[in-house]
């Protein structure tokens, strides 16, 4: 068994506990994804306890599920991640189960044992619940972001600047266009988003997560 987790204290504790239960268990050293997969597979584990957020050196663990499963490991997610979309995707790629890191360690150990014996870790209902939640989350995201797809590039840029506290005059000055042009863009934004004011538009952009998805791309 191999624990892949950026949080060493938890990883070590799980490894030591499993070791005391007579399970051969080691903690993987985090590295770039390819090396990490190679190192884990080299140990030929039955079960890999995998976190989805692996810190700066590895990044997201989502991409590790498929190669590890292909190499014949049973992947059990032990993660702090609560996004059902990511969890459902990992399950779809062959992960045998999902456990929250916050579960008591007994539960973690029991699940690890079950996975090692090849028993199902999650019931069919539990799995379906994760998938349903993922579907609902995806639909909600798409519905919230839908109106933003209809913005032109200029309108989207103007909205981003508005959200960063720039006034119409400042935006006009920095993009070398007339204020009336910017106001036209603003009106376009308001119409397409179906809101009455710049403030509402910015609030909607925050709430829907649109700003989080791409507004910070130009923030360095």
């Amino acid at each position: 068994m191999v624990v892949v987790d950026d949080h060493r204290l938890l990883a070590q504790s799980i490894a030591i506990s499993l070791g005391q239960e007579g399970v051969d268990c080691s903690v993987a050293t985090l590295a770039a994804p390819e090396q990490l997969v190679a190192a884990v597979v080299a140990e030929r584990p039955d079960v890999v306890l995998l976190d989805l957020d692996l810190g700066p050196s590895t990044g997201a663990g989502d991409g590790l599920v498929t190669p590890l499963t292909r190499a014949g490991c049973r992947v059990l997610l032990v993660t702090g991640c609560t996004d059902p979309v990511r969890l459902a995707a990992a399950l779809g790629e062959g992960a045998v189960g999902v456990l929250a890191k916050t579960e008591p360690i007994d539960v973690l150990l029991a699940a690890a044992h079950a996975a090692a014996r090849g028993e199902p870790v999650m019931t069919a209902e539990q799995e379906r619940a994760v998938r349903d939640a993922a579907g609902a989350r995806r639909a909600a995201r798409a519905a919230a972001l839908g109106p933003f797809d209809r913005l032109t590039e200029r309108e989207a840029q103007v909205l981003r600047w508005l959200a960063h506290g720039q006034s119409v005059a400042t935006i006009a000055a920095r993009s070398y266009v007339a204020e009336t042009t910017v106001r036209t863009h603003v009106r376009g934004v308001l119409t397409k988003l179906g809101v009455g004011s710049q403030l509402e538009a910015v609030a909607l952009a925050h709430r829907s997560g649109w700003l989080g998805t791409d507004a910070d791309a130009d923030q360095g």
Partner: protein, 465 residues
């Protein structure tokens, strides 16, 4: 001759209607301005102009023309005089209270009262005229008296406005207009006294005056709405900015909560392991686990402790740096520590936060690269340099790296941003600098060294924490 008189009278009537309409419009526009600005002056002036416009409407004259009879009564002149008086009183009030924004005014009530007073007076006069024919018999002397009184009233108000011109800009502008109203009444007086073309001149002048008043009122309204728009724009911008800041803060808080939760999960797992298997664990493993748990506690303390509550103290830089480096090593980062440094004055927690931040940055932007932390003292200043062997920074990045709000896309857990790091250190009379270096980034924390250890007096050293 008679036809010429009739034509002149008609022209005068038209001019009076125009003037009255202009005053009514100006009054309405002023009241509209009140809607935007809620200033007492607009309420008073708007009402006064509406009343004046109403009083100037030659209704009596028209009705008597329709009857075909000759208005041989003083009632129209009296009504006009009452309206004018109400108008003048309102202007005086505007001059007295115009700048008092605290005055809670309801223009609708004001307008109803003023108009009610004028209309009531007109109705009373009409009733008197009907019931007691002859009581309001017109007479030259009465007309002259009324005209003179109105003229005097306007001139007085105009002088009053001129007197307040220094403190109220609008009063200076209104004074000539008010004086012109006086001139209009003077022309009427001359007409009554000597006859001739004075009446037409008066009507024409008052129409002109109405137009000017109307223009001023419109201009003021536009100014007020433009100012209101500007304010709304500013407010909107400020709120959007605040919203963005709040979102960033929420994200930071979420990261912090995530970090704390992870730390607690690790601690619980470690304690559980120690409790369940302590006697079976080999001593080295147990000690390692205990040390790791302690380091985790230190890490959590750093996360939770705002530096705010900490007092300033003289502390060993090396001790703080060692603690932070240990914490980072516990998370798997390779950190080499070398050199020695002296004592500085300030908050050890701040230095720990900044250093932690620099190390987290290094791990984020140069993943897997070993980091060197070098201590030293240069010209009375303690320097702590953090050097990685990552890709380094481009010139553009280097120029912006300390800007407010600049954070790498992947900035991790407790990263605060270099702007905050620099602010914290500058508060200590120090700084955070970026030194150019081939292959990798090198950030240096600089703090003024305390010349000698303060042996005189009890000081706590924060290095032990």
């Amino acid at each position: 001759m008679i036809e010429g008189d009739a034509a002149a009278a008609l022209a005068a009537d038209v001019a009076r209607v125009v003037a009255a309409t202009m005053f009514l419009t100006a009054g309405t526009v002023r009241l509209a301005r009140w809607w935007v600005t809620h200033d007492a002056r607009s309420a008073y002036m708007g009402t006064s102009l509406v009343v004046l416009g109403g009083a100037l409407l030659p209704l009596w004259h028209l009705s008597s023309s329709l009857d075909g009879g000759d208005p041989q009564t003083l009632a129209p002149a009296l009504t006009r005089a009452v309206g004018t008086a109400v108008c003048q009183v309102l202007v005086v009030r505007a001059l007295r209270n115009g700048d008092d924004d605290s005055l809670s005014l309801r223009p609708r009530v004001l307008l109803l009262r003023a108009a009610g007073l004028t209309v009531g007076a007109a109705a009373a006069l009409a009733a008197v005229g009907l019931l007691l024919p002859g009581a309001l018999e017109t007479s030259r002397a009465a007309h002259l008296g009324l005209d003179a009184a109105m003229c005097g009233g306007w001139i007085t108000v105009a002088l009053m406005a001129a007197g307040r011109a220094a403190s109220q800009q609008w009063a200076g502008r209104a004074a000539p207009l008010l004086a012109t109203m006086g001139v209009v009444e003077l022309l009427r007086f001359l007409d009554t006294a000597f006859g001739g073309a004075w009446l037409s001149a008066a009507a024409l002048l008052s129409a002109l005056l109405g137009a000017v008043t109307c223009w001023f009122a419109l201009r003021d309204l536009f100014d007020a709405t433009a100012a209101a728009h500007r304010r709304a724009d500013d407010l909107s911008t400020a709120l959007a900015h605040a919203g963005t800041a709040a979102t960033a803060h929420d994200a930071w808080r979420e990261e912090l909560a995530h970090d704390l939760r992870n730390g607690l999960v690790g601690l619980r797992a470690a304690l559980h392991t120690l409790a369940a298997y302590d006697e079976r664990l080999d001593p080295t493993t147990a000690r390692q686990l205990r040390d790791a748990a302690l380091e985790e506690v230190a890490h959590l303390e750093h996360l939770v402790d705002g530096a705010d509550r900490e007092e300033e103290t003289d502390f060993e830089v090396a001790g703080v740096v060692r603690t932070v480096v240990r914490t980072r090593r516990a998370t798997g980062q390779q950190v080499r520590l070398s050199g020695t440094a002296g004592v500085v004055r300030g908050r050890p927690g701040d230095l720990a936060t900044v250093l932690q931040n620099l190390l987290v940055n290094a791990a984020t932007h140069a993943p897997g690269s070993p980091v060197t932390v070098q201590l030293g003292t240069v010209e009375g200043r303690v320097e702590v340099s953090v050097t990685d062997r990552g890709p380094g920074l481009t010139a553009a990045e280097a120029a912006r790296v300390f800007d407010r709000g600049v954070r790498g896309a992947a900035s991790g857990g407790s990263g605060l941003g270099l702007y905050v790091a620099r602010t914290l250190m500058r508060r200590h009379g120090g700084d955070v600098e970026l030194r150019s270096r081939v292959g990798g980034a090198c950030f240096v924390v600089v703090l003024p060294a305390v010349a000698r250890r303060a042996a005189d007096g009890p000081t706590r050293t924060g290095a032990s924490s």
